[in-house]
């Protein structure tokens, strides 16, 4: 029986699957927006449904739109009814709605923050204890500096006997310079330990499983280096087009939309050294180290290391589709890329000389996110394997979506009198080995932010390292206003121009 414990520690948390979180007021800026409606509000409901929220939770929505507490509560109810992953329980939802408040105001209006401070302090007084504060910035990125500055000016960046945290959605910046400016603006008012930059991709179970696969298995780590690995391909393909997001996408493009964050995060998790612990800063230190070891291309190298393209008309699922330039909301003659492919090298002892090929695109033949690690061929074959496909290099395929799993290709003998070899797959599907449904990434991330666990959030130097890799590519592409942008048919595997990046291999079939 344990009898000694420090008062600074809570002896009751040992062994609990769900760790407790201190009572919190969660303030959502942009509470009427698309992200809040589709993701955040349903996630908060699901946490309430599961009994995961802190013992006392208050939710304040802030937006510029005309509304009231009552109307905002109706908005929350509609969002939950429409987008929750489980059918809402009326008692839980009604109870949660009683904790919901609305404050109207422009994000640059100092009076908004005075009223917010009054509201938050009023809740402290009402409950007789200071609540932790989480400010969730679910707004357009241009408002991030404005909001953090006003929070700081209003004294809302600190609280006596309570923790204050700010959650910032991606994109963090538009390029390296703007990311630095934004980090600086945040740092002027918040300590880095208070800042939680969300890349919801890191909240996915699949991405966290990548770390489990690497660091919980002795099988892979011995071959996880330049001596055994020939090359790596990381693919994030989508079968859909730009849809109704042309307004956003025109200012972003494939490189900013997926490569700068999600795909480089996958690359970092794939190549980083094992952290000494999974404490947030230890993990992020290793990610930053490996990201800084990726040498960005010089401007004159960009054409050799990066390819951009746009989808043209084509056939998808048996139906004809228009090209990007014909999509509603796309500017005439737009040079925004809907496809990007990169060749990168990680300059350290583990990875020197191993090419990492990244590709992402819209309107490709299928939706797929995978990492394919190809090992070097065996050094010597003791037998002939004529009359068959022969011995192929082993591949380790980590599929993130649609079916999360790991597949290892092996050479196996074809039954018969000859020593004929063909590749076979040893497959593992996560869906067949675990019973429970994965929670939504936002549920995990909201709880982590409330708890103050930054492991799955991006640190300021990490953001700058990510931008540092693609900044020269953005500059080179931005400077080139005349070369034609390669086109690829919708429903295809991408532009032929991307093949030129590869050395002695081909892109994996989508």
């Amino acid at each position: 029986m344990e009898s000694d414990y420090q008062l600074s520690e809570n002896p009751l948390v040992e062994g609990l699957e769900r760790l407790p979180v201190r009572s919190t007021v969660l303030v959502i800026f942009g509470a009427m927006g698309d992200l809040a409606s589709r993701k955040l509000l349903p996630a908060i409901y699901n946490l309430a449904h599961e009994g995961a929220l802190p013992e006392r939770i208050e939710l304040i929505g802030i937006s510029r739109g005309e509304s009231t507490d009552e109307k905002f509560r109706e908005h929350v109810r509609e969002s939950v009814d429409r987008f929750s992953r489980r059918r809402p329980n009326a008692d839980v939802l009604n109870g949660l709605l009683e904790t919901v408040h609305y404050i109207r105001g422009a994000f640059d209006d100092a009076d908004l923050y005075a009223r917010l401070r009054e509201a938050v302090e009023g809740l402290d007084e009402k409950f007789g204890t200071p609540l932790n504060r989480v400010f969730y910035l679910s707004t357009a990125p241009e408002f991030f500096p404005v909001i953090v500055e006003n929070l700081g000016e209003a004294g809302l960046n600190t609280a006596e006997e309570a923790d204050v945290r700010v959650v910032i959605e991606k994109p963090i910046g538009y390029d390296l310079a703007s990311a630095r400016l934004q980090n600086e603006a945040v740092r002027n008012h918040f300590d880095e330990s208070q800042v939680f930059r969300i890349d919801h991709y890191l909240g996915k179970e699949t991405v966290q499983n990548l770390m489990a696969l690497r660091f919980a298995n002795a099988l892979f780590e011995p071959v996880w280096n330049r001596n055994f690995i020939d090359y790596v391909q990381i693919t994030a393909s989508e079968d859909i087009g730009v849809g109704t997001r042309a307004g956003y996408y025109e200012g972003s493009g494939a490189l900013r939309d997926l490569v700068q964050n999600h795909m480089l995060q996958l690359l970092a998790l794939l190549t980083m050294e094992p952290p000494t612990s999974f404490e947030a800063n230890r993990l992020r230190d290793e990610k930053v180290k490996v990201l800084e070891a990726i040498v960005p291309p010089r401007l004159d190298e960009v054409a050799l290391m990066a390819v951009r393209a746009q989808y043209g008309p084509g056939v998808v699922s048996g139906g004809e589709t228009v090209g990007y330039l014909e999509e509603p909301g796309v500017a005439e003659g737009s040079r925004t890329e809907t496809y990007a492919a990169l060749k990168l090298y990680v300059s350290n002892w583990r990875w020197a000389g191993v090419p990492f090929y990244l590709r992402t695109g819209k309107r490709l033949s299928r939706k797929l996110t995978e990492i394919a690690v190809t090992l070097r061929p065996v050094p010597h074959l003791a037998f002939q394997s004529s009359g068959s496909l022969g011995v192929q290099p082993n591949q380790i395929i980590l599929t993130v979506q649609p079916d999360e799993g790991v597949s290892v290709s092996l050479g196996a003998k074809i039954p018969g009198t000859k020593m004929q070899i063909r590749p076979v797959n040893m497959e593992f599907h996560y869906g067949t080995s675990f019973m429970s449904e994965s929670p939504e990434a936002y549920e995990r991330l909201i709880m982590d932010a409330m708890r103050g666990d930054a492991t799955l959030f991006t640190r300021n130097d990490e953001i700058e390292a990510l931008w540092g890799i693609i900044d020269p590519i953005l500059s080179a592409w931005g400077a080139d206003t005349t070369s034609p942008i390669p086109q690829y048919p919708s429903g295809s595997a991408g532009p032929n121009e991307a093949d030129a990046l590869l050395e002695g291999c081909a892109w994996r079939r989508l």
Partner: protein, 355 residues
């Protein structure tokens, strides 16, 4: 949804296993996206008379369905084995993998119980963890299977199974001493209460009250006295109290005390109250200086009431939904893949409470 069935009267374990392999092969050949789930084996030994109820409970496991379920229905006087095997799958399509689940029902007699391991062993997927649930006792079958299974699901709240809370907790301790891992459904009924009590003392300003608690008062469904005792056993083991045996009090209540590590004692009170669902109905912890915190089950979560000296009383709701008994069993199956190191100390403390 696809489903393939096989059945045979007067069969053998080898035939059952061969039939399962063939059904899996057929399903995969018909749709290569269908692959077998490989999570765990669940072996259920149940009285034939209560088959319907057990099947209903297994159907309500929902997402926590094991990959291979082997239901042994036991009938007095039966001499031979009859079996049905079903392989069903769903979710495949559009390039997605679909998961196949296997279920087997073996009808057997009481005379098979002593060596039921020789019937089950060939039928389980050998590389997977195997969980045993024997809701209608069948101690002989449990003893026979202990060497084969990794986890045993028990319910120390179940009055049919155990002759009082003391016997239930002793049996749980005996099983915990064996090579199997024990998942106790009575312990799982306390999960939300443990989480909420832990959360209540997460606030440092309230944490000091943990050391000065004077009284714990638990309300519970009369069929869940062991859940109540385990909850207090957990508090005692975590905080370092030495509980003494409880004494009966009027109205079916129980009273007792626990010694604190630093001196002094704490009063423990248990009261059965009417409640439709099994498990805990409410907990009140009382400290000195006028502090008390009550948590009571209510619609949409637990209703919390707090009193502190010099502060007006507070009342609020901690949100959450009840899992129901189906959810508790599902959670039990899920827990088979996890390990909770706090159960055993809580169990030992709870045993001190029972005469």
């Amino acid at each position: 949804m696809s489903e393939a069935r096989w059945s045979e009267a007067d069969t053998t374990p080898e035939h059952i296993e061969a039939a399962l392999r063939e059904l899996l092969r057929e399903q995969h050949a018909a749709d290569e996206n269908l692959v077998p789930a490989r999570v765990l084996n669940l072996v259920v030994v149940a009285d034939r008379e209560w088959r319907g109820e057990v099947v209903n409970r297994l159907e309500r496991l929902g997402e926590y369905h094991p990959s291979r379920t082997i239901l042994c229905t036991v009938e007095e006087g039966r001499k031979h084995l009859d079996a049905t095997a079903t392989v069903s799958g769903d979710g495949a399509g559009e390039g997605r993998v679909g998961v196949l689940r296997e279920s087997v029902e073996i009808e057997m007699g009481r005379e098979h119980m002593g060596r039921v391991d020789t019937i089950i062993d060939p039928v389980i997927v050998s590389e997977l963890p195997t969980v045993l649930w024997s809701p209608h006792s069948f101690d002989e079958a449990v003893e026979s299977l202990l060497g084969l299974v990794d986890v045993i699901l028990i319910d120390t709240d179940d009055p049919v199974y155990f002759d009082g809370p003391g016997a239930a907790l002793t049996r749980a301790a005996e099983l915990s001493d064996s090579s199997v891992y024990v998942v106790d459904l009575a312990w799982l009924r306390t999960v939300p209460w443990r989480e909420r009590l832990a959360g209540s003392f997460e606030n440092p300003s309230r944490r000091e009250a943990l050391q000065s608690l004077k009284r714990i008062y638990v309300r519970y469904n009369p069929a869940s006295v062991v859940s109540a005792v385990l909850l207090i056993g957990w508090l005692a083991s975590r905080i370092g109290w030495q509980p003494g045996a409880l004494e009966p009090a009027p109205g079916g209540a129980l009273r007792g005390t626990a010694k604190k590590a630093g001196g002094g004692s704490i009063s423990l009170e248990f009261n059965p109250v009417p409640q439709a669902t099994r498990g805990i109905a409410g907990v009140t912890v009382t400290g000195d200086a006028g502090f008390s915190l009550s948590l009571d089950r209510g619609p949409g979560g637990l209703l919390a009431r707090e009193q502190r000296a010099g502060v007006r009383p507070q009342q609020w709701r901690m949100f959450g939904t009840s899992r129901g008994e189906g959810g508790i069993l599902g959670d039990g199956v899920r827990q088979a893949l996890l390990r909770d190191a706090t159960y055993r100390p809580a169990l030992e403390a709870a045993r001190s409470l029972t005469p």
